[in-house]
């Protein structure tokens, strides 16, 4: 045995480990690198299209902070993004994919509008809570359809939630163009809901108080996930459903519950859009929130605490997109490419990081 090198005495137990997976500095570093790389690649694309990347990025990144209007717009945009991201990540923690966020949002919005229109003469104390609550419940019930199909018949929840999105488009179309149609709008839109159903505005320029409610929801979600029994059971099911089941967790119930809660939050987002932003139901109001919510949820790696912050970053990009189109003449869709690239580079950094860790040892 002449060739054997003395092995480095590595005791695996002695190496310090952080709570979950990698340490915070490493995580932050991988995010920074992913964002930078995404901007570099987007910049190349923008330059290739014949525009100035510097102008484009200045428009994207500064619009939200240049004026208080920009900031309020960003915050308003943040509400549905954060809520839809949670609607995706909460079931994800139990290993279920809710791809029906926009359907749940639209059904919630439809229910809210229906209450707001039919009871339009009620005072705020009565109507506003009802509008919000009905939206929340409607979203939850709509997600429950998919959850029930999954639990009872084993229907794949990805499939059912996606398909229910199309059903919701039909519902909105019917309500907005047949039931309470506003013919003056020139686009399928309902008549406005009663003033009592509108969320109060605060400050100048005015910000609707739905923002406060969304912040509360985010805080509550984190507390529930980390500090309560259902949250613990939810995470247990997500890590190893078999082991959770063996130890008395009813995994079917947890899965159904997580989808219903996710749907309720998406419905709540719809209610806030109706009561805070539009004051009525408009076809197409779901925008691309579902897609962005999924991207946010994945960038946040399913971490409920990270979701609001990531959502804010994406809201900044979204608000900057239209400014970029105006000032730098770059199509606003470019921002979606940037967002997707951030996610891709982040996933890529996981692979690279794992390789580096392996080879450095």
């Amino acid at each position: 045995m002449t060739t054997t090198v003395t092995p480095p005495t590595t005791t695996p137990t002695a190496t310090p480990r952080f709570g979950r997976g990698t340490g915070l500095p490493q995580t932050v570093l991988s995010y920074v690198i992913a964002v930078l790389l995404a901007f570099v690649v987007s910049g190349i694309v923008i330059a290739a299209l014949g525009h100035s990347p510097v102008d484009a990025f200045r428009a994207i990144l500064t619009t939200s902070f240049k004026s208080s209007f920009g900031l309020i717009e960003t915050v308003h945009k943040w509400v549905p993004l954060a809520l839809l991201a949670l609607a995706f990540t909460i079931p994800l923690a139990a290993g279920k994919y809710n791809i029906g966020g926009e359907g749940q949002l639209l059904v919630g919005a439809t229910a809210s509008a229906a209450v707001g229109i039919t009871l339009k003469d009620s005072p705020t104390v009565v109507l506003l809570p009802m509008v919000l609550l009905v939206g929340l419940l409607a979203g939850g019930v709509y997600a429950w359809i998919a959850a029930w199909l999954m639990d009872r018949f084993g229907v794949n929840e990805i499939l059912s939630t996606v398909l229910l999105n199309f059903v919701s488009f039909g519902i909105v179309d019917y309500v907005a163009s047949e039931v309470w149609s506003d013919p003056a709008a020139g686009h399928p839109t309902t008549v406005p809901i009663g003033d009592g159903g509108l969320l109060p505005l605060i400050g100048t320029p005015p910000m609707h108080t739905g923002v406060v409610l969304a912040v509360l929801v985010c805080v509550a979600t984190v507390v529930v996930m980390r500090r309560t029994v259902p949250g613990y059971e939810l995470r247990a099911v997500g890590t190893n459903p078999r082991a959770a089941q063996v130890h008395g967790v009813r995994i079917g119930r947890i899965a159904v519950g997580s989808l219903v809660v996710g749907g309720a939050l998406a419905g709540f987002a719809g209610a806030i859009e109706v009561a805070g932003v539009h004051g009525k139901l408009i076809e197409g109001m779901q925008s691309n929130y579902l897609l962005l919510g999924i991207i946010i949820g994945l960038i946040a790696r399913g971490n409920a605490l990270a979701v609001p912050f990531v959502a804010f970053g994406i809201a900044v990009l979204e608000v900057g997109a239209s400014a970029m189109q105006r000032t730098a003449d770059v199509p606003s869709e470019m921002v979606l490419i940037t967002e997707a690239l951030i996610l891709l580079f982040l996933l890529f950094s996981d692979v690279v990081g794992a390789r580096l860790r392996r080879s450095s040892r």
């Binding site: 590595t10 137990t13 952080f18 709570g19 029994v229 613990y232 130890h247 008395g248």
Partner: protein, 546 residues
């Protein structure tokens, strides 16, 4: 392809040096040094035992030989000439055959089809299996590996499937046959027959490497032995020059630890002298029945019928009682309903019919959480699949199952401070090697994972403890640890049900052994009346004549 005849010729003509020698083999997996400059020399016509606890590197070394792993350093010499083995195909062409613990067989094929699969056969105008079948029949007769070449593999028992694997290696012209823990899941009768075949094989000039962690087996069949520990070779001896006690010392290493763990390595050897020195309670060692006095019945199972995963009954009309402080064993070859029985009596799998009472309280039909609250604790066979939350911390893992208990609750919220205190204490008392309560469970070794699972099971103060293969894959100190804890539970009046594939373990620990065959209890033996051959008879499904 080298035939057996050529091998014999090689042997008679070949040099007098060793048939196989591996020198300075080194293999690392990330930070873990699995093999640290290991030497192995296997002579001609010998059964060479490769002895060591789990995690000692025995299987890794043989996987290097078989081309499944590329070594980081070291050389392999066959017949004195260095060989480069890049994959199993190379290994086979050099005359190395290996029988793994898990057989890779096509269930729907016949024995012959399985054996010729992967060899080159003339396939035009049609595959002719007559000649191979005749050769297989000849081989199986010559080496005492009786099996019908036309039988479908799916219909064969584990013992017969193993013969198929050995025949497969011989058919491919193996000069060196590696068997990885071949006695797992064999009845004592099948083990004897296997050993007979091994002798016939080496008498024909081939050599066998026999991987095991049981000293008893090496003493029974091996000519020479290499003992491994922690990825290193700690000694190579002739069987004639050594003793079980010396081997135990080599396997365990640390002299101080050896007295504590000898009972594990000598389990089933009928050598209680060594263990007596360990100071373990006398009643466990004497082989005499332990007097439980008039301890009341704690668990009573009646007319239990449990469905398997495909909706067909896997357990039929099983009934038994376990008294306070009693350890009852369930023996049987794997796949005879053990998983279904374990899961049903632990409340994980619903009962199709029948009843289970714990301290007089009927539990059948109640949700799993109620069983847990009533004091049922289950240590599952597959700890990765059923036992732990891999990405969660040790602390979170220890709470699992008790998350609704007041111990870890503070109002509507979970009391993570209490959970952390509990985890710190458990890590201390159960000697879990981990950096702390926040370490992810997936980073633990098998033994430490099992300690966490045991800590969780015992923190529920179990009235009824079910353990399924609790020491599988554990190193020697961890196995000893499990034995100690099981006894402790019995002394604290738990009713213990121990299901194991290891007969030595059962006869060593249990007050009473029930034999499970095809989902039925086919026999029962009391401590003091254990006869492994008799138990083996029952495990093989042969009628209980007693």
């Amino acid at each position: 392809m080298t035939s057996v005849e050529e091998t014999r010729r090689d042997v008679s003509q070949g040099s007098s040096g060793p048939l196989l020698s591996m020198e300075g083999i080194r293999k690392t997996f990330g930070p873990v040094v699995a093999l640290d400059g290991v030497d192995l020399t296997v002579g001609r016509s010998e059964v060479h035992g490769l002895l060591g606890g789990n995690g000692a590197g025995k299987t890794t070394l043989m996987n290097v030989l078989y081309g499944l792993y590329r070594p980081d350093g070291g050389t392999v010499l066959l017949d004195g000439a260095p060989v480069d083995i890049r994959d199993p195909r190379d290994a086979i062409s050099h005359g190395i055959g290996m029988v793994h613990q898990n057989f890779l067989q096509v269930d729907t094929y016949t024995v012959t089809e399985n054996i010729v699969l992967g060899t080159s056969l003339p396939s035009w105008p049609a595959v002719d299996l007559k000649a191979p079948a005749a050769r297989i029949a000849e081989l199986s007769e010559r080496f005492g590996l009786t099996v019908d070449p036309q039988a479908r593999v799916a219909d064969l028992s584990v013992g017969l499937r193993q013969r198929v694997e050995i025949l497969k290696a011989l058919y491919r012209g193996a000069k060196v046959l590696v068997l990885d823990e071949p006695t797992t899941n064999l009845t004592p009768q099948e083990v004897d027959s296997l050993f007979g075949s091994l002798r016939a094989i080496v008498d024909e000039g081939m050599s066998v490497v026999f991987i095991t962690h049981k000293i008893r087996e090496t003493m029974a069949v091996c000519d020479a032995l290499t003992v491994m520990r922690d990825g290193k070779r700690v000694g190579t001896l002739r069987r004639a020059d050594t003793s079980a006690a010396e081997l135990a010392t080599l396997m365990v290493g640390d002299d101080a630890a050896v007295t504590r763990v000898t009972e594990v390595v000598t389990a089933g050897m009928g050598a209680p002298e060594a263990a007596r020195a360990s100071g373990a309670p006398k009643q466990y060692l004497s082989g005499e029945a332990r007097d439980l006095g008039d301890a009341p019945v704690r668990v009573s199972v009646r007319d239990l019928v449990v469905l398997g995963d495909h909706g067909v009954p896997a357990v039929h009309d099983v009934g038994f009682e376990v008294r306070r402080g009693e350890i009852v064993g369930i023996a049987g070859v794997a796949g005879n309903g053990q998983v279904e029985l374990a899961e049903s009596v632990s409340g994980v799998r619903g009962l199709h019919s029948g009843a289970l009472d714990l301290d007089g309280e009927p539990l059948a039909g109640r949700p799993t959480a109620v069983w847990l609250e009533s004091g049922v604790a289950y240590v599952p066979e597959d700890r990765h699949r059923d036992g732990i939350l891999p990405s969660a911390s040790i602390m979170e893992n220890l709470v699992l199952g008790a998350q609704r208990s007041v111990r870890f609750r503070k109002g509507p919220l979970m009391d993570w401070k209490a959970a952390r205190r509990h985890a710190e204490e458990a890590i201390r008392t159960y000697s879990v090697k981990a950096s702390g309560p926040s370490a992810p469970a997936a980073a633990l070794s098998g033994g430490n994972m099992q300690r966490v699972i045991l800590a969780r099971a015992f923190s529920h103060r179990p009235g009824f403890l079910i353990l399924h293969n609790p020491t599988r894959g554990l190193d020697i100190p961890s196995t000893q640890f499990v034995y100690d804890r099981v006894r402790e539970a019995a002394e604290e009046h738990s009713a213990v049900l121990l299901m194991s594939e290891d007969l030595d373990e059962l006869t060593h620990l249990c007050d009473r052994i029930l034999v499970l065959y095809s989902g039925r209890i086919v026999g029962e033996r009391q401590r003091g009346h254990y006869d492994q051959y008799e138990l083996g008879h029952l495990m093989a499904g042969l009628e209980d004549t007693a």
